[in-house]
């Protein structure tokens, strides 16, 4: 079983918080990796909110490959940041030669382009880079999106933290939302792409559990949108369904739970909105999930949420103070980073619930 966590704060905070959050839940995972998505960035990235950031781990040739594709598209560099790394013999980590975070200016031809056109360009470019890197096994591209940064590595999370200097707090590498997870995907091959959180066009998802409807989710999703690729992990399906509903179909988030864990027929027909719910259950039957799962998701506007499988087979808890909310698998993580909170306000969501936290840190509990 793995452990997942999300921190959302009114103020910028450093990823060390995420490491501490996950460290105290260490017994629940196998310490095989660390991955995080940072959204709404502070520090050195704060002035570049509107510009896309490419997050990559690759070889030197990989950088060239990406550069060529980026410049062919017309992107120009605004900022490059390579984290300082601290190598030591005893660290358990499988490093890549380069970790690159590139802030880019949109091509000139996109000056008057619509938001949608820009978003499409970012996905297309990322997919191009991904395919090119993959073909020659030269690295990985995790995200290419404004105000979002992704880091993933294989190894002991403690050592990954040391390697990237993430244990020491500072002001230049911060964000208002960080989602993190400390385990490689152990169900299938260990590849960097398979590590949660997954990110696509502003949407983030990470999960604890196993989606036993992986096959049918995957087979449908492959036909729904070009960005639904990879499928190195059964949990990617949660992200793609989230993206599909909210971004492509433009349905409100409240229908996510109705799609992935639809109510049984007998319950639906007793409800006022039965027509809608039945149509969703029929139409998106292939996006239903099964098996034990807790999902944490993030939306482009900074909202984060959590929900579970319909049997509530995995734990999750939400704890909060006035300026920070934490969603994570076990309460020990929250105790670690929010020791001062009122634990009586902690929320243990049930199987038919979605807990949503907006940018004002208002917590809502939606019943399915």
């Amino acid at each position: 079983m793995c452990r997942i966590g999300a921190i959302k704060s009114k103020k910028y905070f450093h990823p060390s918080k995420a490491l501490y959050l996950m460290r105290s839940q260490q017994k629940g995972h196998d310490n095989s990796g660390f991955a995080m998505v940072m959204q709404d960035l502070g520090g050195i990235f704060e002035d570049y909110k509107d510009l896309p950031i490419l997050s990559m781990a690759c070889t030197d040739e990989g950088i060239n490959i990406a550069d060529n594709i980026l410049s062919a598209e017309g992107f120009t560099r605004a900022l490059q940041w390579n984290p300082e790394t601290n190598y030591a013999e005893n660290l358990i980590i499988e490093t890549m030669p380069q970790y690159v975070f590139l802030v880019l200016q949109y091509p000139k031809t996109y000056r008057y382009a619509s938001q949608e056109e820009k978003e499409d360009l970012l996905v297309n470019t990322r997919l191009k880079i991904r395919a090119a890197l993959e073909k020659e096994a030269k690295g990985y591209v995790y995200s290419f999106w404004p105000d979002v940064l992704t880091l993933k590595e294989i190894g002991d999370p403690k050592d990954i933290g040391i390697y990237f200097g993430l244990w020491e707090e500072n002001n230049f590498f911060t964000a208002k939302v960080i989602t993190a997870q400390c385990r490689q995907n152990t169900n299938y091959d260990i590849v960097r792409y398979a590590a949660h959180p997954f990110f696509l066009q502003g949407y983030t998802a990470l999960a604890n559990g196993e989606n036993t409807f992986f096959e049918k989710n995957k087979l449908l999703q492959k036909s729904l949108y070009k960005g639904y690729v990879g499928f190195e992990s059964d949990s990617q399906c949660f992200l793609y369904t989230l993206h599909y509903l909210n971004k492509i179909l433009k349905w409100p988030l409240s229908y996510y739970k109705h799609t992935i864990t639809p109510l049984p027929y007998d319950e639906i027909i007793r409800r006022d909105d039965k027509e809608i719910l039945l149509k969703i259950k029929e139409s998106l039957a292939h996006l239903e999930i099964n098996g034990p799962n807790t999902i944490i998701g993030g939306l482009p506007d900074g909202t984060i949420f959590t929900c579970c499988d319909s049997k509530k087979l995995r734990p999750v808890v939400v704890g909060r103070t006035d300026d920070t909310v934490v969603i994570t698998s076990e309460v020990s993580g929250i105790n670690e980073i929010l020791p001062e909170r009122n634990w009586e306000d902690d929320i243990y969501p049930h199987e038919r619930e979605t807990v949503i936290i907006n940018n004002a840190l208002k917590v809502e509990r939606w019943q399915q």
């Binding site: 409807f213 049918k216 099964n290």
Partner: protein, 546 residues
Amino acid sequence: MATIKVNELSRDDLFWQIQYDTNRCTFCGKCVAACPFNAIEPKVEKRRKVVSEAPTPTPKINFQTMPVIQQVVNTNNYCRGCGICEKVCPNEAIKPVRNPDNKFAMKIRSTTGNSHTRGGRANLNSGDRALDKIVVGRISQMTDPSLDAQRHTFDLLAPFGRILPPEQLPFDIKDGKLEITGNTPPVRWIYPVIIGDMSIGALSCRMWEALAIATAYLNEQAGMPVRMCSGEGGMPLRLLKSKYLKYSILQIASGHFGWNRIINAMPQMQEDPAGVLIKIGQGAKPGDGGLLMAKKVAKHIQEIRGVPKADLLSPPNHQGLYSIEESVQKMFLSLNSAFKFKVPVAIKVSASATSVSVYNNLLRDPYNIVGGFFLDGIYGGTGAAHEISMDHTGHPIVSKLRDCYLAAIHQGKQGQIPLWSGGGLGMTGNLAADAIKMICLGANGIFTGKLMLQLAGCVGNDNGKCNACNTGLCPVGICTQNQVLTKRLDVDKVAENVVNYFLAFDKEIKKTLAPIGNSSLPVGRSDALVSIDKAISDKLQIQYGC
């Protein structure tokens, strides 16, 4: 040397020979009275017996005339091996015995110039089933726990009706909520097993009634929304006008039998039917229309179907259907509009090398009116067919169903026209086992017919036993209109058996869902299956295990 007539049909040619023991027989006559085929008859034999009555041996030859039971040898009244004589004999004096050296079918052809006809299903290769080489092999052991089959709540229903992809749903958002702003095709959520289309006429009224009673009971008392398809031949008026109509799927086939009555009854219908099934073909005898022998067209059948007493042959195809597009436009639109687009209309075809093309076309149908694709495999049963059709034409269902599902995936349209499959499912007696495998391979549900007959007491099997459904003389009253024979069928008992079987099915299918950790039907979850046959696993794209 005696002269013999070697070319005549002889006892040795018959498929079944009667084994009769004079010493046990008390000449009660029950067997002769019970055999519907007149395949045995009483006669007298001259017997030579040596007796000695004095204290010392004084052998004397006596000639006696004895009554015996004898097998009839001709091409009409041959023994079907149904075993009814054995059942009624109080002394175990008589029984049919299979004759492995028989040449019967060949003799029929050579003596009558006719093809061999019978009922039942394919007798050739039907024991070697792909489904039996597949197991549900993805057992939840650690991270995703198995469920408790007894206590967990499962959601077992399946859709019947045209399902729109989400982008075509007429949804609007108002105050953060979705709203329906237009019409969508009707979809019914029903139990994933439909009692398959056997007509009144092919079945005795009592048998049909028993199925209708079982269906109503399952719905009203057991909370299982099981639907029954009428078969081509209409329905009794009383049922058409009753509230139970909602549990029936009306079938229309090329003969349109019974539809005059259905249409006339429409103004008086209290409920819509559960659906309409357009039968294009059936798996047991693909390319053939229905066939009801005149001897089964009794008075009440003439009335329900609106026909005179005659052989009723449905044409092999629907008049006026030349292409898939045309079938969509004409039949579906007219039937959909007949019920004001409130009743799902589905199509039943015989599995064929071309099924995928038909399904692909229907999936692309711009009118969104095809509410289900019923695919019927070669091992389906039939009331009457030429043996050559049953044994040598048709297509196995398992791979064809899978092909259709994969074709839908290829179009990104899986689930939009629900797939229902049948044709020999449950022939080993375990329908739940077959159902879960078909569902994992992509079926939304299954349909079953022959198994229902077996539950009712059919004595036939897939190895030449009985198979006399075409004769109108079904020895147990299932598929005959002969009133003496139908009396043999206990309507309530049959209904009870069917209900019990469904209750057992419900428990058993849960015993397969529980270990794979699924509370709803795992449609298309082929990763849950493992085949012990490499060729099958390759063909179906499932795991191989040995």
